[in-house]
């Protein structure tokens, strides 16, 4: 009896300790990520928001200016609107092309049976190449005198244009170079295609549903969540377009590829106006956020989630 009693107290203490450990353990496990998020994501985010209300030169006194940076940008800085317009134009072409081309590539890869692994790797590889290497390759491809593209055109008897020197063609050249890395989007859509049960198509085939209708009424709706995801990530990457334009055209010729991200970059690292650049970043953030929310809202009409029960669908589970 004594021994049992003597052992009781440490057991209670142990139980208390283990309760604390039980609650704390999950947080301890995710603490590296939480610390990383606080210091490298949330911290800079709050810091940049604060910065955007200041006249903040890299060297020298900072001055609180309230919403002046935003007001100046929108009212007195034509470059803001020009760069934004160029970015919107780029996004309007890049986003649909990125998704449509990725979709058809994924569809082809899904249907081929011969060397599918090789082709999957071949199409995905460009998307893992670093931006600088990609630009080096494309600057050679686009070179007026020695470029591969103009060489190919010359074989067909066409005198190739100055791709990067023509204000009308430079943005097209950047769109093409950007689309070279669509492997990631393609892979997501390919995964989605592979997840569609083949019985759905067989049932449709037996019912006499033609191929185009199977694509329209089965494939696309079943890919809805993936298409939505790639749509939003494409918009984000279009608005963040910097590396290719910066290295390939430096914003030229005649500012025709001067993207909004480059405008922010120049304000920060060329004119050292950190407050103004931060304000530009927040404007970009809000634009991307609004677009994403708009797409999300619109997607309710065409994206179906397997785990979702909508109110107007019925009165719940049977």
């Amino acid at each position: 009896m004594d021994m049992t009693y003597a052992g009781a107290e440490p057991k209670v203490a142990k139980r208390k300790r283990s309760a604390i450990a039980r609650y704390a353990a999950p947080y301890l496990f995710i603490s590296p990520w939480i610390l990383g998020f606080l210091f490298f994501t949330l911290g800079p985010l709050v810091f940049s928001l604060t910065m955007s209300f200041y006249d903040w030169p890299v060297v020298g006194e900072r001055t609180f200016v309230g919403l002046d940076n935003y007001r100046t940008m929108m009212m007195d800085d034509p470059q803001f609107w020009e760069s934004l317009w160029i970015t919107v134009k780029f996004a309007a072409i890049y986003v649909p092309f990125n998704i449509i081309m990725s979709f058809f590539l994924a569809l082809m890869l899904h249907n081929i049976t011969f060397a599918s692994g090789f082709f999957r790797t071949a199409f995905y590889l460009p998307s893992v190449i670093s931006g600088v290497a990609l630009v080096t390759i494309w600057s050679w491809i686009y070179s007026k005198e020695y470029g591969l593209l103009n060489f190919m055109l010359s074989l067909a008897g066409i005198d190739g244009p100055n791709w990067l020197g023509d204000p009308n063609l430079a943005i097209v050249a950047i769109i093409i170079a950007s689309l070279w890395g669509l492997g990631g989007t393609m892979l997501i859509l390919l995964t989605g295609l592979k997840a569609i049960p083949k019985e759905l198509y067989e049932a449709a085939t037996v019912s006499g549903v033609p191929g185009w209708a199977q694509m329209l009424f089965i494939t696309l709706p079943m890919l809805g969540p993936m298409l939505l995801f790639t749509f939003i990530t494409s918009i984000i990457s279009a608005f963040q377009q910097l590396t290719i334009a910066l290295l390939l055209t430096k914003g030229g010729p005649l500012g025709s590829t001067y993207f909004f991200a480059m405008y922010i970059y120049d304000n920060a690292f060329k004119y050292f106006d950190m407050g103004y650049a931060a304000a530009g970043s927040w404007v970009m953030f809000i634009i991307v956020l609004m677009l994403s929310l708009g797409v999300m809202r619109w997607s309710a009409a065409w994206v179906y989630y397997e785990g979702e029960v909508r109110q107007n669908d019925g009165d719940g589970h049977a």
């Binding site: 019985e199 067989e202 085939t205 037996v206 019912s207 006499g208 549903v209 009424f217 669908d313």
Partner: protein, 382 residues
């Protein structure tokens, strides 16, 4: 007319030949099950009829039309899939009408067919729901409904009940039988569940390794199995087998001895001439026909390994003296216990005989069994 005639149908995948020359004649309005173990080719055969598999050779006729090279949609068939294959993003009404609408059918006619199918299957109140809001049984009904609205000449059902729980399977089985009765359309049903096959079918095609092992009525398969495979596959617990040698042959009477038998067994056959003296035969006996007897009357002797008490009956697993296993079904309250020595008699009138190649040696059935089989056959013809 929606009779089906399949001639010398062959189908392989690469070097693997799955269907090895199938010949079948299925009558108009018949309910036929394709039954067999996994990998026997039953689903491939069904998919070939549906036009979802390209044939290597052979032909398929539906009525007087050769549909071998016709596209699925042109075959006038409907198919119900194992996992329902409902379009998850469409509600039940759209699932039912999808194919019809795209084939240019008029709205009124589509509505009539959908409402009629919903009425038959009692899913009218579910028409606005998405598949994920339905239970397994309701989903299955919708899948069947999608087949009904096509008003096809032939229904193909690929293990449609295998995803349902045991209770629901019984309910749906009854409903399927009633549906066949009501529609009167030819139905082909793939299953690996012999209870489904035996209860639903007019006739059953037993497939083994890509070949038709036997095609007959459920009672025929049970009482007159054509070979060892069918004898072992149909019936639960499965038929017991014991080998023996023919030691005497007197016209239609065979005397068997040796092998697993401890006492000679004399049986009547219809064609004793096919088995020569000293040739080995396999004696098959259903577990419920084995009799527990005194040592003097026994044909088999063994030790009880396990007794499974199921209430109304008990399954007794026995290890025979020659090392082979056997199962006997006795009444639920029989006092037999583990490790007990047991003596069994094979009633000659209930045993089946198979020759060295596994083919059945024909024997006369008991009159009332024969009458039942004849009734079953005449019902099919009618």
């Amino acid at each position: 007319m929606a009779a089906i005639r399949i001639e010398n149908l062959r189908k392989g995948f690469g070097s693997l030949e799955v269907l090895k020359g199938i010949n079948l004649d299925i009558a108009d309005g018949e309910f036929v099950c394709f039954l067999g173990p996994s990998g026997c080719g039953k689903s491939t055969l069904l998919r070939s009829i549906a036009g979802l598999e390209e044939l290597d050779s052979g032909s398929i006729h539906l009525g007087d039309r050769d549909i071998t090279d016709l596209r699925s949609a042109k075959r006038d068939i409907a198919m119900v899939f194992q996992n329902y294959a409902l379009y998850p993003h469409m509600n039940v009404r759209k699932n039912l009408s999808f194919g019809l609408a795209l084939n240019g059918m008029k709205r009124d006619e589509i509505d009539r067919r959908v409402d009629n199918a919903a009425d038959i299957l009692r899913i009218s109140e579910l028409l606005h729901r998405k598949p994920r809001q339905l239970s397994g049984g309701q989903r299955q009904r919708v899948a069947i409904g999608r087949a009904i609205v096509r008003e096809p000449k032939l229904f193909l059902l690929d293990e449609p009940l295998s995803n349902l729980d045991a209770g629901l399977r019984v309910t749906m089985r009854v409903e399927l039988a009633a549906l066949h009765e009501r529609l009167g359309v030819t139905m082909i049903y793939v299953t690996h569940d012999q209870v489904e096959a035996m209860t639903l079918s007019d006739r059953v095609v037993v497939l083994d390794k890509g070949k038709v092992s036997q095609f007959g009525t459920p009672l025929e398969l049970f009482y007159q199995p054509a070979n060892l495979f069918v004898a072992g596959f149909i019936g639960s617990p499965r038929m017991n087998f014991v080998t023996a040698n023919v030691v005497r042959q007197d016209r239609s009477e065979l005397t068997l001895s040796g092998g697993g038998l401890v006492r000679d067994l004399t049986v009547e056959t219809l064609s004793s001439a096919v088995v020569a003296k000293d040739k080995p035969v396999t004696v098959g006996i259903r577990p419920d026909k084995l009799e527990l007897v005194s040592p003097e009357e026994a044909h088999l002797v063994g030790d009880v390994r396990l007794v499974e008490r199921l209430g109304t009956e008990s399954h007794v697993h026995i290890a025979l003296e020659n090392g082979s296993d056997m199962t006997a079904v006795v009444r639920g309250t029989h006092p037999v216990s583990n490790r007990e020595r047991i003596h069994l008699r094979i009633p000659p009138e209930h045993c089946h005989l198979f020759d060295a190649e596994g083919r059945a040696i024909a024997r006369a059935l008991e009159p009332e069994t024969q009458m039942l089989i004849n009734q079953e056959k005449s019902k099919r013809v009618a």
